[in-house]
């Protein structure tokens, strides 16, 4: 039997395989993003880009706690002016590999999301991902935009008005009804959904001093501990909307990726798994997917995608 074909199409963009480097992991320098693609990623996402540079919070900003990671980085990034250069350089290196680039954007006003979308579009990323769901900046901005279907839709409209590039919206699991928000995003013109951002926020103390370990106090929980929640969110969204979903949340091996595909995911975001498996984890997940497909005599992802919706 021929080796199964892992390629997939996400919002009209071809991915050689469905593994996507999730936003916030390694997505700062173009050389590292290219290295991740060479290691086997099917697409790479930049760190969330804001208009102005952000230092983020003091260390510690990321910890492994036993069931996954907890982070409150504070969306540090060098700002759109620098990142446009990184995206251009990354695309040059990614093009020969056939690996697309997703630019993640973050702003604190609906208007600035539009400005950012226009600005990053100059570097021609293959997709734009709207980050309205970071759990760590609530205290700065009252409430994350992804908590509200109306605000999420407004952000999507503003971004769509400012770019011709397909747009993904990254949603939060920390809401009462993620389906309503996904529906609002798609009705507003979102081409796809990334589900989900980190869980929580959660809190970990150092019991000797009684202090939270993260400098920010609380942080988003990711990794294996949140996977069942992410799977349920992806299933609920795939049942309700027709837009493609990048399923993100605790996927660390081929089994987990298959599970996400079964509930309807078009692609799978890989973040915390890089902690457990290094950059080689993309290749391992693809090998696991291929193995599953061979055992079930599937030659393409479409043959089992969404079977369990």
């Amino acid at each position: 039997m021929l080796s199964p074909d892992l390629s997939t199409t996400l919002c009209g963009v071809r991915l050689p395989n469905p593994t996507v480097l999730a936003s916030g992991i390694l997505g700062l320098s173009h050389e590292v993003m290219i290295r991740v693609a060479e290691a086997g990623a099917g697409a790479v996402t930049t760190k969330s880009i804001s208009l102005a540079p952000r230092d983020g919070y003091h260390n510690p900003v990321i910890l492994e706690w036993g069931g996954g990671l907890i982070n409150a980085v504070g969306l540090s990034n060098p700002g759109v002016e620098v990142m446009v250069g990184e995206i251009r350089a990354a695309r040059k290196g990614l093009a020969p590999l056939g690996v697309p680039l997703i630019a993640s954007i973050f702003a604190d006003t609906i208007y600035d999301f539009g400005t950012l979308a226009r600005y990053v579009s100059e570097a021609a990323p293959d997709l734009i991902e709207i980050n309205v769901s970071c759990p760590n900046v609530d205290d700065q901005y009252l409430r994350m935009f992804a908590a509200d279907p109306y605000v999420t839709a407004q952000v999507v409209r503003m971004v769509k008005r400012n770019t011709a590039i397909p747009v993904l919206v990254k949603l939060s699991p920390n809401v009462t009804d993620i389906v309503r928000i996904a529906q609002a995003a798609v009705e507003a013109g979102a081409d796809g959904i990334t589900a989900v951002n980190s869980l929580g926020p959660g809190l970990i103390l150092d019991i000797e001093t009684g202090r939270p370990i993260l400098s920010h106090g609380t942080g988003g929980v990711s990794g294996p501990a949140m996977r069942p929640i992410a799977v349920r969110c992806v299933r609920d969204i795939c049942r309700a909307v027709r837009a493609p979903v990048v399923a993100t949340g605790g996927v660390t091996d081929g089994r987990d990726a298959v599970e996400m595909m079964l509930v309807g995911a078009t692609a799978v975001g890989i973040g915390s798994a890089v902690y457990y498996g290094g950059m080689g984890v993309f290749g391992q997940i693809c090998a696991g997917l291929r193995d599953y497909m061979q055992r079930h005599s599937y030659s393409r992802l479409e043959e089992f995608r969404g079977r369990v919706i």
């Binding site: 916030g24 050389e31 952000r54 510690p60 900003v61 290094g278």
Partner: protein, 261 residues
């Protein structure tokens, strides 16, 4: 689990006007020379620190910014957190003499390496540079290992006048193809990399970059395509020759590149 292990400062030794050594109530028996720990001062910050001795954990810190200043103000018994050891350290070649070259506060981790080299009976030369005599670190410790360091100071107040590179150039012919192990300010490392190329020496260089996670996922310490926290902090001459930003740019907390001074 990779939460910080809480420990206390056992001892504080002054080394020079702005440099202190901290000994902790913690043993890291698996740590290798050149590896680092993330040292957390609760309420202040957490920074990567090279290991000067693993058991008990010992680090030597120069007062430079807010974190090191706060650490210098800490007293015996103060509680700190330690994550690690992290990164790739030096890999000692058993079959070749070792030439250890340190500058400024880059010297202490080389003491840990020198101890391992001496243990394995590897012929070891140590060359140390500093601005002035009072800033030469760890001399007595090297001597206690039976290694007499070659010294260079900018003002000639101890050892030879000039940089440690000047000192090496004057002796280049004395060395039968040693492996170069270096830790110090980046301009010194750049010059040593060139020195190694000119004399056909393999080299390993401990590189410093802004770090956040310390374990290879945040991407903050990227030096070209290398993650200094995981591929380094000790990088080979070949890796550094291919890294265009080495000696030119480092990143700040935002990830923006700034010139290396």
């Amino acid at each position: 689990m990779a939460l910080p292990v809480m420990t206390r400062i056992l001892e504080i030794w002054p080394e020079s006007r702005r440099v202190r050594t901290f000994v902790f109530d913690l043993e890291l028996p698996t740590a290798q020379p050149g590896q680092f720990v993330m040292l957390w001062l609760p309420g202040v910050d957490e920074k990567p620190m090279s290991i000067a001795w693993p058991a008990p954990l010992t680090i030597t810190v120069k007062r430079l910014g807010p974190f090191s200043t706060a650490l210098h103000e800490a007293s015996r018994g103060e509680r700190l957190g330690v994550r690690g050891p992290f990164g790739r350290g030096f890999s000692l070649r058993e079959d070749r003499p070792a030439l250890l070259v340190g500058g400024g506060y880059g010297v202490p981790p080389l003491y840990f390496l020198a101890a391992r080299a001496v243990e394995r009976a590897i012929p070891t030369i140590v060359a140390i540079g500093a601005r002035r005599a009072g800033e030469l670190l760890y001399l007595d410790r090297f001597r206690a290992l039976g290694v007499e360091p070659l010294l260079a100071t900018d003002d000639g107040s101890a050892g030879e006048k000039g940089t440690v590179l000047d000192l090496l150039h004057r002796r280049a012919t004395l060395y039968p193809a040693p492996v170069l192990y270096a830790c110090g300010p980046e301009p010194m490392l750049v010059a040593l990399l060139r020195f190694g190329q000119e004399h056909g020496l393999d080299g390993q260089f401990s590189v410093e970059r802004y770090m956040k996670c310390g374990f290879g996922i945040c991407g903050q310490c990227a030096l070209d395509g290398l993650l200094v926290c995981q591929d380094g902090p000790v990088l080979t001459g070949e890796q550094l020759q291919a890294a265009r930003d080495f000696g030119r740019f480092r990143r700040n907390a935002t990830g923006r590149k700034l010139p290396v001074r």
